[in-house]
Symmetry: C2
Subunit: 359 residues, 2 copies
Amino acid sequence: MAANTSSIAPAPPLKDELDIIIPTIRNLDFLEMWRPFFQPYHLIIVQDGDPTKTIKVPPGFDYELYNRNDINKLLGPRASCISFKDSACRCFGYMVSKKKYIFTIDDDCFVANDPSGKAINALEQHIKNLLCPSTPYFFNTLYDPYREGADYVRGYPFSLREGAPTAISHGLWLNIPDYDAPTQLVKPLERNTRYVDTVLTIPKGTLFPMCGMNLAFDRDLIGPAMYFGLMGDGQPIGRYDDMWAGWCCKVICDHMGLGIKTGLPYIYHSKASNPFVNLRKEYKGIFWQEDIIPFFQNVVLPKECTTVQKCYIELSKQVKEKLSKVDPYFDKLADAMVTWIEAWDELNPAGASKANGKA
Amino acid sequence: MAANTSSIAPAPPLKDELDIIIPTIRNLDFLEMWRPFFQPYHLIIVQDGDPTKTIKVPPGFDYELYNRNDINKLLGPRASCISFKDSACRCFGYMVSKKKYIFTIDDDCFVANDPSGKAINALEQHIKNLLCPSTPYFFNTLYDPYREGADYVRGYPFSLREGAPTAISHGLWLNIPDYDAPTQLVKPLERNTRYVDTVLTIPKGTLFPMCGMNLAFDRDLIGPAMYFGLMGDGQPIGRYDDMWAGWCCKVICDHMGLGIKTGLPYIYHSKASNPFVNLRKEYKGIFWQEDIIPFFQNVVLPKECTTVQKCYIELSKQVKEKLSKVDPYFDKLADAMVTWIEAWDELNPAGASKANGKA
């Protein structure tokens, strides 16, 4: 684990309350491009591959770097729940962070411009999204009522205008859209050029495909459910890490009375991944998903699940019971979900007792 | 009832399948402004006030005009279900139309410009919305997957990509937003200047506030549920006509496997209505709404309800049973809902038998 403290005076809000988690950095331009926005914050880099390879971080950034050896040392046998050779390992960073807010971004995501040509400060928009309530109980046709120039429209019940605390802010991508391998193969040249100037709440009871490329969340509210599963080396599946986390988080947010927003901010996704490699990673998921989605649509968490940890353990039991028959992988995944919570609580003892209602 | 046939060659698609319904025309500029877009279509004007007053329609439009005397003559005692001195009377036009698609618009809504300055053909966008499927079962983060340059994103289950037939297209408003009286009073100067370039499906199980200012629907799919209730003259409430229709339509669409889209197209809403007058019309609704919304959130329609008419009659029974205790108004409204369906079926005998599964 390397460390380096920035000498630049930190300016933006929440400086001491937010960590930026990056699964790996293969591109030296990445941090240079984000420097004006990221430099005031602390970075946690979780190296997804060979620990003997060196990740170069340009001077001036305040960061920690964890490779596989660090993960093994810190978690011991519980390190088995953290994926290897896959960007899903980023969730280890969520666990070791001590901050309230997390922003995670892929190293092929650059600063996008808004339609006026201005560089978009993605982090600032995520913070705005997280700091104002969500509206999961009723749809507002003018979208986020907390944005300047907007409000709740006629017919929106007054008792529901308090909304719900926002746990997750899901940002989008210009240029290369986040398509699955079959869609990539069919539409190799499609680029997302449409800047949709909105943020909205995913309604209660509705699932969505959460992408980990450009994602922020409130670690205190939902952190223990932000597990990216078992992907990559030794696993039969890839590219479902963020999806799995999103489905788990959504049913837990719905149960706990928390909100999830999607829309702004955009980043510029520079590089399409190889659709043939993606197809190999995804193809089991394409089948399994047809059982996974009805499973999550029908999950009921009992009243006794009053913390995210309790919800997550209950969910792991239901995964084992109902999805293991789809494939033995889910039996292993259900065990890893439990290991993840054990590791989380070990590294976050205060949060664990608080989240478990003991404090 | 007056009639006049346009001599202009009709061009846009669906010319013979769409009627434009306007509750009244107080503003001579209204039709002139819309002429390039509306002239190829047939208009049905439902005069909302004094039948002795004359509504002037500029030459070149193909239209029918109905005043209260016409409604009374056509419906006899059943005319009681059609509101008087309120724009809710527009739903009479839905009933007398023989077309598959309806577009309804208020006479203070003008042609808006998109961010490039181009006049927006609202009708064309509504038709696009209605002709491609909705996605009520899972949220697509790039919004409408059927728009050019968009698609279903990674993680969207393939079995759900067929979507659902679109029954309703709910358009939005630039300039004066559709606020309730309290919000109008608090924010008299707020204007909606944000053009959000998207169309999205309201997910299954989620209610929304449907505004009648700029609305299109598939009459064959959902027409009999598009009843605008009892408002205006002799009624204790106003400005909840479109809301009521929206809530009824939403639960019926959810039950029948139909979709509702909101977003584009925008119109330019020119004139804020008087907030003091609005407060008088709305204030009972503001209280009642707190019971109405939980009612609609919990409505369950039995499997036997296989047509919109059957759903609507069942809904009227549940309104009588559960909302009459809120106010005797709902007892009257429940009866009017039955009368509406009787009148609809009388004027649409083929549709009635088809919709009731007899054909």
